[in-house]
Symmetry: C3
Subunit: 459 residues, 3 copies
């Protein structure tokens, strides 16, 4: 028993240390979830409809799962991708999933899945090829009940607040639930190489009445959209760029690039200059309007051409690339980094920069805070490395607590639980090695779990 | 007692964890050795002659040992390099070695050497300046017996299969032992900057009757050599390049480079293009003929000019360099990476790319698997980092088990034993932290030790 | 009790391992401190005046503390920067410091501060907002006594030898204490982009009577200064460069660059060539005159323009940048790297190069040794990573023991104590995992603590 979802999971092996980790965990496990950076669909909470079935809820939208199956030669179609309305395909996908769970041994997905099965659905066995259909039908049965409607789950999951990620031109009609706030993501308006750039610029112009072909009008239109988002509860912006490069340009220089951008005649290097300059412009707007700025650079999008052509964005294999920060962020930090009222949160997929660039920058600039271990590093080992390599230079108080960063709604409690357990584990080591007092540890774990995210995101 | 070669060596300190690691180890310690990537001399097994003496067997061919001595100001001549037939030099080298063993404290060499002395030769003391000659004479005595003939050792070492590394133009006359298979290594035919390129191309032409000055003939000749290797049992190719760069070129583009290559008039950048393009060509051949493709990039060869001029290749200090994969492998992966029948195994000397590039790539592309911690990382800490940084994203099942990668025949059991112990250590932590079930652990350790290498290398 | 400065701090949690770490520590804790690389002010020991007060001694000169406060929106003026003679400002700074100690939880500063309070001043409580003024007055009282004069503290701290860092044109009048030796730092004479280059070249010319506008005279003048430093006890040089790049140039090539340098007309790339070439020249001088050469590359100086303009160098946020070694050091290593009488010590702020470049280089070239975990890595986790990633390839004996690298005199015993504890911790793990014998461990810890630094720095 307890082989799956063990109450002491992720705690240290040593008895004294485990006891302290457990004691720390007891004081924070029931704290509300703050989820200031995520990708759930606001429509769920707006319409409050029941979810359809186990496969379309837990499997086909989860890129961590699909990637792993694909890497082992299992087609995305077999896993139900694009076949949500075909109930036989849904069942087959579930069976294939259940009989390949060993692929996830050692991965965070294994922990999250078992948490969901055990704690959300009360299924205490390990999923396998034999009990697959029992799981499937029992989950589907529960999904059909009132207790499993999205808004009921928001309460049951103890979510105090959840932020979605929304295109800058979104009208936010779905944001009607008071716990669900939008995040302003303008990438399609700031990346002239995005396939939607032209159409989004046109919409932006219509929405705001600004002449977006002039820098003044373009920037003003973006400010207006930010103000609109703020009326819907937004406290933060989010910027996903291939690199962290930022660049100060004069209005004339930016205008020259904008002219070419609107004619689709930018060279790749000019397009990169445009994006870099727009990060600085966005930072200046953040300083003015108080929206927290988030940058998560370093993903090479759509690495796999075949899948990209077949399934489009987000399935085309986004792969991290080496990312530089010290030089890249210099223009932005010299513009707003010394401002006490500015908040800039940086994420990385290139762990080799934690200790050598990011921690020293965050341990210096008042504006800069480090986002948590992100995406491929949202895991036991990944979070440990984040703490080990940033804490000694940036301290704990230049970090912002945990983000779940997920569209997998049911995994949110599991993900926060993992993060809390890892912090308890890590802190227990500090205490027993006398690098931190026990009293400090109990204060710190409260801050990391609840107070730092609220403060960092102005919640 | 047991200070040297302790039965619990490399196992965790914590009692419960050590017990589990030991139990895991008990179930796999006697599994046959699969050695699909190595550098032993096939002549040993062909002629089955006894080895000469302790120094020429254990010391002078071991680059790990020679490097360390050299770094401490001890000449390679003192260590017997190039003096194999001088028995006084052999003795002096052994004495020097024995009195400097502290240089290897903490290194894998210390573990391997003690394993060889203790388990292969039954010498249970620690080697030192005083017992040096006892060791020397006792080892030499044993080396002269029938039990120490190479083929007897293949059985005693429980080696089920061992692959050598062989030049693409090698006639493979020495591959007569059924357990000893060749690996196809075409670097001298695909690197136009190699000093042997011209002469090897000439031999290739003679061997195959192809006009290798035309791309068609050149590629066809390479295919013919691959087919010949397959008749001798080859299941894999091996490619050692300075970078991982791959490039799709048209036949005309490649022909233009080949023309210049044959005239030795390529610029360094064109030579790099040629090598990059040939990796893609080799990958296409692998897809056709089923040979597993191995790439191990990132070694800067012959860093030390003085030693290179004095002793030639392989002693001239090969030093790792920073290596990029996400962009570099893109052309190759977009050509064959989605093929389920293709097998591509990648190694790295740049650990900073484990979590940010290699694990995400291997956790996505069906063709791609990660080779084990290689060369300088074939060690306790090196293997731990490999698992910690790749497992959570690529899983265990996108890795290929252990390679010994050595010409030091006697160290092969020691190296595999270290790898097995480290995996038991690592897995025991996962179980006791409830990140893996105990049942899964016992299945997994079998797979990592025996089944994954056999499957990965089509054995 | 013992929450602060616990006698077992930084030792392992596991009981057996802790016991061994403690036993190792007992044998070396009282060994004299060798501090061959530091930044204390020689005037302290020359004049032997009492220190002024707690804030100006412990707080305002400590960049680790100032950075962290600044990162949390606390002005440098509030922390007393530039207000040393204002006693109210000093008190306010101390109070602010005391009430923000949580910012340092988990950082080495927290360990060092508690060591200083507890062991140097006998203040066993944890500093906080309430006892702040008690601490302040008690520290000030003690600072006024004879026991706290600099030379008395040199004895009390058990410092056998301490090196300062001194500009190449310094006349070294303050170096009158026999335990305090200068280090030759010529950066302002070898970096043509340094704002003091022209004035220092002029002084150099006057001091030596050489025509420094000719390469011969310039190099000869530098040799003369090195000889002068040697008469004051200097055994080492120190070079802080943005990159590790080294370059062999002919005298004519160097002369052409020097001509432009003196006219301030070098391009940035030419300035970098000049610095790279001067590292090779300095290495050749080291081979001749026996001064140990230290290079610590990879700091991007004065990242924060606002603070640089306001407070000048050293407060303007020096931030590490990605640093390459394999190619960068090639010219220098091929010039002097094979010399047994040459000593070159390399430091890094880019940990991702420990295992892939630095350890393989140090494990090969006789001249090259690895400096300890430096600056942001002078910490528990930082030192652990240093050992874990370098030991297996470079061994322990290609490293040089600990450097404190600090201007914070009172923290020197604390810093050496941390380093000793971490080594005991690390070595205890090796022994209990049977990767090292217990006998070897007790020998090794002596060498790391005392003998290696003396040998490495020719002391």
């Amino acid at each position: 028993m307890h082989e799956i979802n063990h109450p002491d999971r992720l705690f240290p092996v040593n008895g004294d240390q485990r006891k302290l980790a457990r004691n720390l965990y007891e004081t924070i496990k029931d704290l509300p979830i703050i989820s200031p950076h995520g990708h759930t669909d606001p429509t769920w909470f707006h319409t409050n409809q029941n979810f359809a079935n186990a496969t379309s809820l837990l499997l086909t939208p989860d890129h961590y799962l699909l990637r792993m199956f694909y890497s082992q030669g299992i087609d995305l179609e077999t896993m139900g991708r694009g076949l949500d309305s075909d109930s036989q395909a849904m069942e087959l996908a579930w069976k294939t999933f259940a009989s390949h769970l060993h692929l996830f041994w050692g991965t965070p997905s294994w922990i999250w899945l078992n948490h969901v099965f055990s704690e959300v659905f009360g299924l205490k066995e390990e999923l396998n090829g034999e009990n697959a259909m029992n799981f499937y039908h029992e989950i589907n049965r529960q999904l059909g009940t009132d207790e499993f409607k999205p808004n009921a789950l928001l309460e049951r999951f103890n979510i105090e607040l959840i932020a979605t990620t929304d295109d800058a031109i979104d009208e936010l009609h779905q944001h009607t639930h008071k716990k669900v706030i939008p995040t302003f993501r303008p990438d399609r308006l700031t990346d002239p190489e995005h396939e939607d750039f032209a159409s989004h610029m046109e919409t932006l112009s219509v929405q705001t009445g600004e002449n977006v072909s002039l820098v003044k009008g373009y920037l003003n239109a973006l400010k207006m959209r930010r103000e609109f988002f703020k009326t819907k509860g937004t406290t933060a912006t989010d910027h996903g760029h291939a690199t962290a490069w930022t660049l100060n340009l004069s209005e004339n220089q930016l205008q020259a690039l904008l002219d070419k951008a609107l004619k689709s005649s930018l060279t790749p290097s000019e397009a990169e200059q445009f994006r870099a300059a727009m990060l600085v412009e966005m930072a200046k707007m953040s300083l003015d309007d108080g929206l927290v700025m988030q940058i998560h650079p370093g993903s090479h999008r759509n690495h796999n051409h075949y899948l990209f052509q077949k399934f489009g964005r987000d399935v085309g294999a986004d792969i991290p690339q080496s990312t530089e920060y010290t030089h890249a962020l210099k223009d932005l930090l010299n513009t707003v980094g010394n401002e006490k009222d500015m908040k800039l949160i940086i994420f990385t997929l290139d762990e080799s920069r934690y200790s050598s660039e990011l921690a020293p920058l965050a341990g210096h600039y008042p504006a800069l805070k480090l986002g948590p271990a992100w995406w491929f590093h949202d895991s036991f080992e990944g979070m440990m490395r984040f703490r080990e390599r940033t804490m000694e230079t940036a301290g704990f108080y230049n970090t912002v607590g945990f983000n779940d960063d997920t569209r997998a709604f049911f995994s949110i409690p599991a993900r926060h639980d993992v993060a809390r357990r890892v912090d308890c584990h890590f802190i227990s080591k500090l205490v027993l090695e006398h690098r931190l007092t026990e009293k400090a540890a109990f204060k710190l774990i409260q801050d990391l779990t609840y107070h730092l995210p609220k403060k960092a995101y102005n919640l």
